[in-house]
């Protein structure tokens, strides 16, 4: 890009956490620890504006190391200042261990156990009092300069069509190059949507060991989906003109831009330095819990758990989702979809097809939107109150050697 990078001069005011991390939002999180506590947690959270209080949770009743690590990472996310955990009481989730992790990070935390509080109404009433207190606590937190070097950004595509690869995805790729050039951290994901891109990705890896790790992750993704019997490709993609998973993958890959790949992550693992990372989102240990990512929010939240402050979301068909904890910036690939759903879209990338802008123009617009979002301006989905969240059962082994060379 010839224009100055808007991130080079970004001087946002971040929220400084006791553990030293810096957020762009100052949320109190209400988290249910089993589906049976969902209604109580939702009722507590619903009393407040989504700009202040966000709802997350894990629906399962049985232990999951993956859910533990996701919940720990999300409850200590830089955009989160304090947490209320809502437990039914008899589920297996290790609530004390989670509360201890949150407390050790310096964040205020409280736990309500419905079976010990006298039931639904009593817990909700107590929850209101606690959240009022937690909100007062987070308001007292310190502010700190927040620059491009503090920024961590993910990217996702949802509802892709034949225009995604032409406009929004390559524009996000250029914006990703801008984020990395400004000293920030970026990640792309979904190894199950990168078939056909293996050789190109391994060429971009900064070490041979990392290239080997990427190859192995791609082989795992292929085996997993072969066993599953189908790929991450379907209905709306086909109506929108995409014919095969490798065609969809090629378009999705364009979001990663052209920076060297400095590491490979798994969900909830934090990057070891600035630069571009690939996230491996496919289960380890074979076909155990079905479809690895059951919808777009399942992967969005995995990048958020690894520390992303916001996510650049490309859509052709017209997804309207947001996310809990991290703002979603919606970049619309298809000019007709933008006209139809403009109230949900942050950036109109489809104008490239109508010769009203270049990819560089759109990339600049994306970087300006990133800057504004970091400065506190709500994105479209935030303003509309979207805070989609999903957490399912998955299994991951620890990262192998060579994944984080820096």
């Amino acid at each position: 890009m010839n224009a100055p990078n808007p991130l080079d001069t970004m001087r946002a005011s971040g929220y400084l956490r006791a553990d030293g991390r810096k957020g762009i939002r100052n949320y109190v999180v209400v988290a249910y620890l089993v589906e049976c506590a969902h209604h109580v947690a939702r009722t507590i959270a619903s009393k407040y504006e989504p700009q202040a209080v966000q709802l997350i949770g894990f629906p399962g009743c049985y232990l999951s190391d993956y859910a533990d690590s996701m919940m720990q990472s999300l409850c200590t996310h830089p955009n989160v200042g304090a947490v209320l955990l809502v437990s039914l009481g008899c589920e297996e989730f290790k609530r004390s261990a989670l509360a201890e992790v949150i407390s050790s990070s310096g964040r205020p935390v409280d736990v309500l156990v419905i079976q010990e509080q006298g039931g639904t109404r009593s817990t909700i009433e107590k929850g209101f009092t606690i959240v009022d207190d937690l909100r007062a606590e987070v308001e007292k937190g310190g502010r700190t300069p927040f620059t491009a070097a503090d920024l961590m950004i993910g990217t996702e595509c949802g509802g892709s069509d034949g225009t995604s690869a032409l406009t929004a995805n390559p524009a996000i790729g250029l914006a990703f190059d801008g984020i990395c050039a400004a000293g920030g951290t970026a990640m792309f994901e979904e190894t199950c949507e990168l078939f056909g891109c293996e050789a190109h990705m391994t060429d971009r890896a900064v070490t041979p060991e990392l290239a080997q790790a990427i190859d192995a992750a791609m082989a795992k993704a292929h085996q997993y989906h072969t066993d599953l019997g189908y790929s991450s490709f379907g209905g709306g993609n086909i109506t929108g003109g995409l014919t095969t998973i490798e065609e969809k993958s090629l378009g999705a890959y364009a979001k990663s831009g052209s920076a060297p790949i400095v590491g490979m992550l798994k969900p909830a693992v934090r990057p070891s330095g600035p630069g571009l990372y690939l996230m491996d989102t496919v289960n380890d240990g074979g076909l155990r819990f079905g479809i690895p990512n059951i919808n777009d929010n399942a992967t969005v939240i995995e990048m958020v758990a690894s520390g992303c402050h916001m996510v650049l979301f490309s859509t052709g068909r017209g997804s309207v989702v947001g996310s809990a904890i991290a703002p979603i910036v919606k970049i619309c690939a298809n000019p007709r979809t933008f006209r139809n759903l403009s109230e949900d879209m942050d950036v109109d990338a489809g104008k490239v097809l109508e010769q009203r802008a270049t990819l560089d123009d759109v990339a600049l617009e994306i970087l300006e939107t990133v800057r504004r979002t970091a400065e506190g301006v709500p994105t479209k989905s935030e303003g509309l109150g979207h805070q989609e969240f999903i957490l399912t059962y998955k299994t991951f082994e620890p990262l192998g050697p060579g994944c984080l060379p820096i």
Binding site: G162, Y230, G241, T243, T244
Partner: protein, 95 residues
Amino acid sequence: MGNAALRLSEHDNVAVAIDDIEPGSTVELGELTVRAVERVPLGHKIAILPISCGAKIVKLGVPIGSATADIEVGQHVHMHNVQSDYLNNEEYHWE
């Protein structure tokens, strides 16, 4: 309209519609002039070279699948005449 489709790489045997292409209309792609034999909606692919059954479909210079039938210049290239070289979904559910 001369530019209703884009050829994304000189190696490609398909172009991508950036507007709905109606049957009988022509698309100009550099030295190639392609006459659409059927409707190709926005975002879908049109054959710009003859493609034999079994040959690779090439977009952005990269194979994105194999032809399951002989495809003539100007035809719509999609599920009915292409299969994945990776994974084909057994069933499709869409409206």
